[in-house]
Amino acid sequence: MKRVPLTVVPDRAPDSTPCAIHAALTDVTRIYAGQKGKPPFHALGPVSLNLQAGEFFSVVGPSGCGKSTLLDVIAGLNAASSGTVTFEGVPVRDKVPEGVAIVFQEDATFPWLDVYDNAAFGARRAGVPENEIRERVEHALAFMGLKAFTHSYPVQLSGGMRQRVCIARAMVVRPRLMLLDEPFGALDQQTRLLMGEEMLNLWRETGATVMLITHSIDEAVLLSDRIGVMSSCPGRFIETIHTGWSRQRDSNTALDPRFGELTAKVWSLLRGEALKALGNQS
């Protein structure tokens, strides 16, 4: 059993000023129009957030608090009802900026393509040469544990395997900002851990900015530079926590005493919000 390490050459050197703001939200809200005489639904915000170039930022929050909505707004897939969004200094509106890759919460594999073509899809669109793509895809699939399924079609895969295909697709394009919406949701804890570590490697090597929405507090604490904890709906950041890990962190970081402290903190912040989210409706 050997694991192929993912050695990736960044398309662009990691930003020299790691504190440069890569993506920024100012006073953003998202209010869904009420349907058929129902009142509008306030789903998000107001939130303000600066994603630093090259940082690993995680978002945690109770179910239905507006995390996916936040991601959509940053990506330009969903227009903010108020406030402004910028990516690399340019306002984002209604169009996904170049350099951003997204892994959605739902299964987004293309059923008519096999695993290889699914993984290669984004890079092909971006015009990466075919032999370069092959190399990247092969790496990504090996790394995702899907090598034996290179020529399988999505229907032949389990839920977790499909999710991994989507992660591979986003990785292969080498984005500067990677938005991940609960990408490991359908994976078992062990696989999740392994994926997390590989994600850290990738992040270090490419210098990309990562925003990860996750339901796992451990994961958030272990992987991130900063963790945004969201309130129940309408989601706002109730606290942003700096972990202070070095870039060289890995799963052993979990043994650091601060790890326990941080998880406990996030946990206690979330407990109240989750109860609120479940209970405030009765």
């Binding site: 990506a75 170049e98 997204i102 987004a108 008519w112 971006a126 079609y153």
Partner: protein, 252 residues
Amino acid sequence: MKLAARWRLVLVVAFVGALEIASRRAWIDPVSFIPPSKMAEGAWALLASGDYTNDILQTLANASLAVLLAVAGGFVFGVCLFKLPRLRRVVDPLLLSYYAVPIFVVYPVLIVIFGLNRWPLVAIGFLFGVVAMATNTLNGLERVAPVLLRSARAMRMSTIDEIRLITLPASLPYVFTGVKLAVVYAFIAVIAGEFVLAGSGFGFRIAYAYNNFDNPTMYGLMLLLLVFVGTLNMLLHMAEERLYSRTRRASA
């Protein structure tokens, strides 16, 4: 699919056999209907005689042209309706209602526009096929999972690429149904047009045989038509199976 083909064969053979017996025993009035074996003889005779070759080729050419135009036009039209909801809202009620008007009433207009040649017939075939194609395309586009469209946006695809690479493959089963219906409607319309109006072609020959109670020729021609359209449909069906068997969950 082998299984389905086999069953289909069994079904067709059984049906044809039953018709054969029923008509040979004269349970069905022989003036109206002849045994399938006689139809086959008729079809063979008229193929062998060579008298009908021109008519058959002419109709096939016209219908094929109409199909091609209807499929291409219908697809583009369907995509436009999908992309332009405002256009769609306005056109939607008219879209399918025009099938209610016996379309050959516009034939004189078409003659004025195109002249006395093959194009009025092609136009009728096109007009009849295009809406079925557009409607199915539209249905298919609406069924594309939103997450796939979001993926397309995430990859910053141009409209053309999005259609080519995401919406078309994702809605292909519907597009195929559209193509199949366009084939059928184009044939119906071209032949009905020849029936009423033209002096040559499959439809005219059928009408002539029909009026002359020439059952072997009429049913022979119908059999040929059935074989043509059936084969075309089977080819489409097979292409669809090929493309789509692997994206469907295996049943057993």
